[in-house]
Subunit: 334 residues, 2 copies
Amino acid sequence: MNNLKDMVFSAKNIAVISHINPDGDSLGSALALAVTLSTINSNVTLYINDVLPAKYEFLPEVHRFIMFKEEELEEFDITFVLDCGDIDRLGSSRSLADRTKNLVNIDHHVSNNHYGDINIIDVKASSTSQMVYHLIDEILQLPITPEVATCLYVGIVTDTGSFKYDNTSPETHRVVAKLLELGVDIEDITIHLFQNNSYKGVKFLGEFLKSLEILIDGKLALATISLQMLNKYSLDPDETDSIINYGRDIKGVEVAVTLKEVDKNLIKISLRSKTNIDVNEIAKAFGGGGHKKASGATLKGTIEEVRERVVEEVRKAFMHNGDGSHCAIGIRNR
Amino acid sequence: MNNLKDMVFSAKNIAVISHINPDGDSLGSALALAVTLSTINSNVTLYINDVLPAKYEFLPEVHRFIMFKEEELEEFDITFVLDCGDIDRLGSSRSLADRTKNLVNIDHHVSNNHYGDINIIDVKASSTSQMVYHLIDEILQLPITPEVATCLYVGIVTDTGSFKYDNTSPETHRVVAKLLELGVDIEDITIHLFQNNSYKGVKFLGEFLKSLEILIDGKLALATISLQMLNKYSLDPDETDSIINYGRDIKGVEVAVTLKEVDKNLIKISLRSKTNIDVNEIAKAFGGGGHKKASGATLKGTIEEVRERVVEEVRKAFMHNGDGSHCAIGIRNR
């Protein structure tokens, strides 16, 4: 990696880009790297392709993110692409990759397709922020300021679900120990990330939980979001994304499903699995897809029609999984 | 501390006790120490004073906890009291302390009143489990099995709110890194601790959120739990304890209050602060108390009467805090 260090120290100009629909890890890692590189190079540009989600507006030096504009495009010596498994996830700044001398792809996703001139891929890292810590500390050998430590911490804490997901390793905790020593204010970050919910989002949750029911002997949690509910609360999409977890996190529940009426007779379903039931297979039956533990699909029909089809498909999945004996019990409204 | 090591290795019999209303740290640290001591001494007794909360039934070797019975009391060479700031928090096994040769008090609470013959108090430790890690590893120099590591991890993760509270230090993360290396199954622990909610608890949350309102210019979140709601859902007390956080975690909210009708004309109030408002002072005005960020009191009156008095007292606290300019705005139903 000495090559990379030499390349960085001799570069005329450098770009750093985050992916579309940026999350904490994408923003934190990009910001940390750009801020650090700015201490040795006055020509560092940090691009964003999307609106910055409000919850990340507190990140130190977040004003450095600028919207990518095709017509103002420079040619860069190095472009760092962070946390991005596929170059098409760069959105409009995709063209930047074509006009850069050295494209450096830094990522932890197993699906990464090695599109860079230099590819640093570590599928065992919890997050790209964890990788950028090592990049700055060991490869570039540059100091990490409290502001940069804060950005990296935010990337790690959001991508690991506060160190609860199984991508969390001993190394994750060792890196976080070092970041805290560098001066991260956990209390301030906790308020911004986890204690800053919208009032209407909380009221929406109340209505959502009212619709929640458990079926198939308590193994399926199902809830519906009507068009009328969506219009009443007019939430940002990321405010409803994780609401399905309330169903999943009920004792005995193995699969949670949310039916969201996105238009008249058009229902978007989200599925989550807590056990070894593969919800990707269930989503595929409806022309959708995703992962084993999280998937989705879009179906035509009324909420009631789609509900019936989904319950039937989940019931089949339980039967194939060898739980057939319980399946006749507890199906309501059929 | 060589004394302690010698004392432990030469003891005829040893007792380990957890405090009343045991939490994850109390149970995890006591179990970890008792299981480890059992590898060098066949006379180790682990006492519990209360019913084991269901969510901790998954802890390795949890069957070792036995209910304390006064009439069967032995005299012990050493009794370890864990995570217990005051000896009166031992409940009925308080008398055990009087009939032990060496009482060892291991705790991280700042309020600990040093009641032991040996007192190991570290107010900078996140948890007693973090301290027991060092006790086993450095003082006793005994190996930590995957089962013991699991108990210690549970103690740390519950007492730090998944590493989000400001008692979390670099040392906390370093200890957890070592525990994970010893073989902790994070995914399994996460399911048991955080994805095992009761269905009725989730439905109760839905009703609770319906009653939630924001007052005093969005700085006070207030919700009520009627006797009728409590009877309808018949929840365990620990299922309603943290529900107040939904109010606290709303953007702009500084103080959250829950009014719980525990009997006719008897209202228990819980208060939480997210900022520098001291809710201990507010609780004191009603004859209650607690900490700066978490307090409570019990008041006589109807929900509506108590609600009015509490809103008024919170409004005064905001005024004393220099936020008087906003106080006239947003008070509903007055």
